[in-house]
Symmetry: D2
């Protein structure tokens, strides 16, 4: 049996070392370490990996991390909510969101044309620019065909974006489908509606897309789920694996608890009763804010996979370049101090 | 300023009296009392009322309460997730769910064909019967027309159900549209998909339904929102009122906190920054499990509205009958003790 | 197996009827109903009942309810934190706390001499009056004896208060000891310290009080625990029953979850591993704000015990008087409407 | 205004770099970054630093980290609950706790003599050994003097322990007082009681200890608080700084929310209304499990302080030795792979 181990900081400690130490600390740190292990396992086992997240995570700086994860081949299917798609497009066109505070006065913000998502602020202008983009985009799509499955439509949009850090761009480029079962639940939906008013034969076919997610994986393939937060993104991935015999691996990172019977709080353990994850599967549920826990978990997993050469080659030049930059910086710092 | 007031139980106390006492107790009880007040106000102000809930609440016994609320004219528009629609249909065909425990072993349950939602159990059979129903239903719908907006489709289904306690039935009967922006995210979606395989021109038009929810209310009408839990049901109602100038009243009952920037945890206060609720609006957020808090809040509001004769006439005979039953029971009890 | 049952409001519904309906609703409402059942059982089984709460609950209007519970013989031992004792004394001298909001600006409040506990406000003056009282009280106690066990000291104070709604008063009058293992953790502690400066032989003997709580119950007696919130009040009651062979019944009402290994979140289930509650014991954990859940749970239990004549006689005149008042009020209301 | 910044993993990333990136991610990661900043500031400002934690954190591997923090001069005063003191002593005598699971059956564990704290297991034997130690310890203390303030008593015990990773040992060695306002609320209390039965003049003077914590700091000194979790440990530190004019800096890491008015959930913002932290103070509240968040926050702060040579010299040889070990290990790993 693993023993609880006194944690000690070593200066210069890496994220990998800290998450390894979590194994012997306690409570959610133990679960987080387990989650990293499960992700390593699902990858080693050649699983098709579903990554699900909600729109507030795309509002945050995790957006760039998601696109990096796609680039590194760490996920095969994405499920998200439409807000995340909108904001990925906004950011791809250069819009920037600001760090604010939870306590900021909402009425004052509203008067300034600022929208609050927790402690992140989004300007109304960002939404207005998005509006203009959408009209053009939809016209191009419509010229190509009249009836679109959601994931096909999102891929097409992704290809038009020119931003390495965009989720839609990386997904399109790396053949990772993005599913969004409630595509109309946002500004995106409003623009689809306006467009349809002038183009009655324009159809967004959500039913067809059900087939697309269904045939992303097969009964025989190993399947893994990494679900961040709850909502329909989590549920849709689970449903899809369920219909294909259940997932073999599942990691949930969430702030919700199982005590209210909600989807957000439903644990990996509960999913077994549904056949949503297989009985013998490797599972972990970590309670905590994903802006903290997801980088930790994923970095720990990817560092290990990289060591074992199981990670899609990182664009080498870029990484080395960055590392060199860092070294140079360190050199400069040292010089500055001497 | 209202003073904190020592609470004292009076034998035979009614729910109305307890929730009135909450005004002077503290913390979430104060917020709950405020929520009841806001509901009374939105009704008195002739607001169009959006009621939103997630599927786990339909799994629970709140389902009958929701249909009663529709019947009593306490909501004008419903937004929910598809699981709730499925389960409402199952229950309308006589399926029953059981009270279990949170701790029940999920693997054992799975082997017995039982699915767990918190401490509620659903048999696989219930899903299988639903499957059979769906085929028939969809065929009838298809014969009528090929292209369906979601809320129209749900109304049509509601009319076929013969259960006074069904949400879909009461909604259809009382002209309360039900919106479900992710109609494919459940067994329902799978059946739609299977059906479309044989009927390629069958279309579920989610874009058209955006227009339906948009035109449910106008800029000039007063609008109120009662949002239970989070997810797209809450978000979709907020979006719809936002596009019509914002809600005037908003009550959120949820277990989530605003600290993680999630939709479930977003407060009524935060909604103001978006113009989702108007700045001057009356708002309340109550943290707690809705199976406990919603009956309390809603009963307190409805008792008061009833007193002021602002509640759609309750089927009088039925109520009186029940009250008489109760009295008889009390009489019998008293006799038994004497 | 109990079935989930469609909930339906009946106008005039009592708290007892609502909590009975909770049995078939779901999630925490089911647990709340179970908690009421466990309390009824512990009482019927003649258990010694520990009631524990934290100081913020005495800040709230639950204070009067706690004293009523003592008066009705529904608890035999109390464990709390010192803030609750201070505020009970303040309220007994006529101080009143106000209902505020969670969002009120703390800096502004501080400037006005107002202290915030969630959405309840306490004036600095209330603390200052308390100071004056304490000096006098401690001198009287000191004249009686030099070395005091905490619970003896609190009983003595209770007898000096003249307020039917005071916890300390009712506890003293009804021989219910109040334990407070961290008696110095508040303004009370500061005054004890100041007093000791001038009276070096004045001793508050916490060790001796350990014996007092230990001998409150025996191995052979049935023991029950009703723990509201967490902290040392919950832990101390558990510890005391543990040393006497474990509790037979346990009900926890809390907002905390077990996932962080905290005392507040530790469940009744976990307590079994410690022998803190007996393996075969009847237990229930309800997640939610006690200002909402405790009145519901306790009223449901007491209504049933009253019906079965197992409740210490309520001062009959008073109750009847109140009931008559209510009836008169109803009459007047009816007249007013006719 | 700081912008939200796309996060990108760089292989080999250090904890310092990750926590720096948190500044631009969102939600609680932003708050965590702020908390690290506040800790750096309080140290640079020569504040007296209060570190408070609850016993479950000593159960965990954070115990070693706490003692390292004392050794590095990062805290001046400790406040904790008695369970943590007991378990620190147990671990100092070689007892080991195990990593288990939250789901483990409590009744089975009880039969095996295992106690569960979340997902950490403690054997009954560990408690029995502690019992034997206590008798001896108390006799020695009694021989020295009859009346003990709690912090003096804990210092004396600390000096007898011979474990570099013990909190009590490091605290005693580094003149960091440990306060424990509810010293009897645990096995420790039981042993004090048994001892007093045979030594009636043995007194644990909690009132005197109030003076000790009061005079730890002065009005004029800068004061900082790092509070992990809630309970009396947090409250006692706040009370003590309040009486000395309020803290200048405050960092709370907790899983509790302010919505129920509890001490655990009370925010740094609310503390301002009490004068518990000064109005102009630098404050941060981070919601999350401290086993994850505290190492991150504290490492980030200490790395920066180390860089600026503001950290008490780490025993150099030891660190270098460890670093060399690590390098050797890496060499061996590389060889093994080649």
């Amino acid at each position: 049996m693993v023993k609880v181990k006194d944690f000690e900081w070593i200066p210069g400690m890496t994220v990998k070392e800290l998450v390894e130490a979590y194994r012997g600390i306690g409570y959610q740190s133990i679960e987080l370490r387990k989650a990293a292990d499960v992700i390593v396992k699902m990858k080693k086992d050649n699983s098709k990996i579903f990554l699900t997240f909600t729109s507030n995570m795309v509002t945050s700086g995790l957006r760039g991390f998601f696109s990096q994860i796609i680039k590194l081949g760490m996920c095969d299917i994405i499920v998200t909510t439409v807000g995340g798609i909108e904001e990925d497009i906004m950011k791809a066109s250069g819009e920037q969101f600001s760090v604010g505070t939870f306590e900021a006065d909402s009425v004052e913000l509203h008067e300034k044309g600022i929208n609050k998502v927790g402690n992140i602020f989004i300007k109304n202008e960002s939404y207005m620019k998005f509006e203009n983009q959408m009209n053009e985009l939809l016209l191009k799509l419509y010229e190509k065909q009249k009836r679109w499955a959601v994931s096909d439509l999102l891929k097409e949009i992704g290809l038009t974006l020119n931003d390495e850090q965009s989720i839609l761009f990386q997904a399109a480029k790396n053949n990772v489908p993005i599913f969004c079962p409630a595509i109309t639940d946002g500004a995106f939906g409003f623009h689809l509606y306006l467009f349809q008013q002038d183009h009655k034969d324009f159809i967004v076919d959500v039913v067809k897309d059900f087939g697309n997610i269904l045939y992303c994986t097969t009964h025989d393939e190993k399947k893994g789920i990494i679900a961040l937060g709850g909502s329909i993104s989590k549920h849709h991935a689970l449903l899809s694996t369920l219909l294909n015999g259940g997932a073999n691996y599942a990691v949930y990172l969430t702030t919700a608890h199982k005590t209210s019977g909600s989807m957000s709080g439903a644990t990996t353990e509960e999913a077994k009763s549904w056949g949503k994850v297989k009985d013998e599967s490797d599972i972990a549920t970590v309670i905590g804010d994903v802006t903290i826990t997801f980088p930790l978990t994923m970095i720990a997993a990817m560092e290990q996979l990289k060591e074992e050469k199981l990670l899609k080659s990182i664009e080498k030049e870029k990484t080395e370049e960055k590392l060199n930059e860092k070294k140079d910086l360190n050199k400069l710092k040292k010089l500055a101090k001497s």
